[in-house]
């Protein structure tokens, strides 16, 4: 447990996490390893775990009928994968594929939601960490949609 607590605290997403919250979160955490090409999750599946990438690269993909899968974004070391576990209906909206060997911490979503409900300080702390990531990704997506490179 102490090991996972330390690893969690070292991940940029949990920078400055207090010890008590670290202990609570570690209770929901486990080490995960994905070989290149392996899927962390597939679109439509239950969003029951979210991931802190420690090492490697993950591609978020979607399928457009009649076309090869499209990569929407890639995520790397120090980033998190997955926000759909936060809100009903708790289903993944995209596929997440390990591009290279990826090591991550997986946090059990139901466990985490339960602890956030019981301890609102923890819940608020989680929201303060999640919201900037979600907003930044929204901004990035808007910039992508703008297709700034025009006719390139």
């Amino acid at each position: 447990m102490a090991y996972l607590e330390r690893i969690l605290g070292e991940h940029p997403f949990f920078a400055g996490l207090d010890d008590e919250h670290g202990r609570l979160l570690a209770g929901c955490a486990r080490n995960r390893r994905f070989a290149a090409g392996e899927y962390l999750f597939r679109e439509g599946e239950a969003a029951d775990e979210f991931y802190l990438i420690r090492h490697g690269q993950v591609a978020l993909e979607t399928l457009v009928p009649g076309r090869a899968p499209l990569v929407i974004a890639t995520l790397g070391e120090g980033e998190i994968v997955g926000a759909s576990w936060l809100l009903p209906p708790y289903r993944w909206m995209f596929d997440a594929r390990a591009v290279t060997l990826t090591r991550a911490i997986g946090l059990d979503a139901a466990c985490l939601r339960g602890k956030c409900e019981v301890d609102h300080h923890l819940g608020y702390d989680m929201m303060k960490r999640f919201l900037p990531v979600v907003v930044k990704r929204l901004h990035d997506t808007r910039l992508q949609v703008l297709d700034v490179y025009g006719d390139d």
């Binding site: 591609a59 499209l70 990569v71 929407i72 890639t74 790397g76 703008l146 700034v148 025009g150």
Partner: protein, 284 residues
């Protein structure tokens, strides 16, 4: 590569008279983009500073501002032209052996030497790598005089990454961090997908002691500047290259006015703190 330390306009021929150049080589870079290697028919190519531009004249069509994207030791300029309209379309269609008029070089350049001793972050989006390439070459030619060097490159897709043959050797150098991203890609692309401002937090540099050189579409530059500011880089350490329609290129006609400045003479490379209020970062 030789670079001027004085204002090249002072030494050059009358600024309105194009000099005749010959197209020595045409390299297709992208579906709509070519690089032209141009050698003067008479005399020597004028000196230039990385970041400056020439006015290229397609005979019978007109003139357009095009950045200097490289120079060759044989005394030729290299210009990378994307066909977006009449003039650029005519330039991009030129064949080896044909002639083109050239005035310049004009404008301010990247203040590469001023960054000595500091970390340097170069951020290029799309065709923005063209005017930055000579700055990168100058940095790498004098590598020991700079701190960490990060080159962040963005493009629409893997197929539209400019100068892959230049990127590869930069990527192999242990003393340069090169991060490349594309906005859209298929699953066969093993690199990053995401917008270029998203690379800023991933690059290693000292925000308190770095110089940032940014060039690309204006929206991309706005978001990149926001990311650099968020990382703690002071406005006066950020340099951007602006584009406005040009006509005279020497500060006389007012075509390229950008607030109180003329992009042809006070730019194209400008310090962000000087133009911050014109270059507003909208809420998105």
């Amino acid at each position: 590569m030789s670079m001027a330390t004085t204002d090249p306009r002072a030494a050059g021929p009358a600024p309105f008279v194009p000099q005749a150049y010959r197209v020595e080589e045409v390299t297709r870079e992208l579906a709509d983009t070519v690089s032209l290697r141009l050698a003067p028919l008479d005399g020597a190519r004028p000196d230039f500073r990385p970041g400056q531009f020439n006015m290229l004249w397609a005979f019978g069509v007109g003139e357009a501002a095009i950045s200097i994207s490289d120079v060759e030791t044989d005394g030729s300029f290299v210009h990378t032209v994307r066909a977006v309209g009449a003039v650029s379309g005519a330039l991009a269609g030129l064949e080896v052996g044909t002639r083109v008029g050239l005035r310049g070089p004009f404008g301010t350049g990247w203040r590469v030497a001023e960054a000595r001793g500091a970390d340097v972050v170069v951020v290029a989006g799309g065709l923005g790598l063209a005017p930055l390439r000579p700055a990168i070459q100058a940095l790498l030619a004098d590598r020991a005089r700079y701190g960490r060097v990060a080159i962040l490159v963005g493009a629409r897709s893997p197929e539209t990454l400019l100068y892959p043959e230049a990127l590869a050797p930069w990527q192999r150098r242990p003393d340069v961090e090169v991060l490349v991203t594309v906005d859209h890609a298929g699953a066969d692309w093993a690199g990053r997908v995401g917008v270029v401002p998203g690379l800023v937090p991933r690059a290693a540099f000292d925000a308190d002691d770095c110089v940032a050189l940014v060039c690309g579409p204006e929206v991309m530059m706005r978001f990149t500047v926001a990311a650099l500011r968020h990382a703690g880089v002071a406005a006066e350490r950020i340099h951007v290259s602006m584009e406005r329609n040009m006509k005279c290129a020497v500060g006389w006609c007012g075509h390229c006015q950008f607030g109180p400045a003329f992009v042809c003479k006070d730019g194209p490379v400008m310090r962000y703190d000087a133009i911050a209020d014109l270059f507003s970062i909208p809420e998105v």
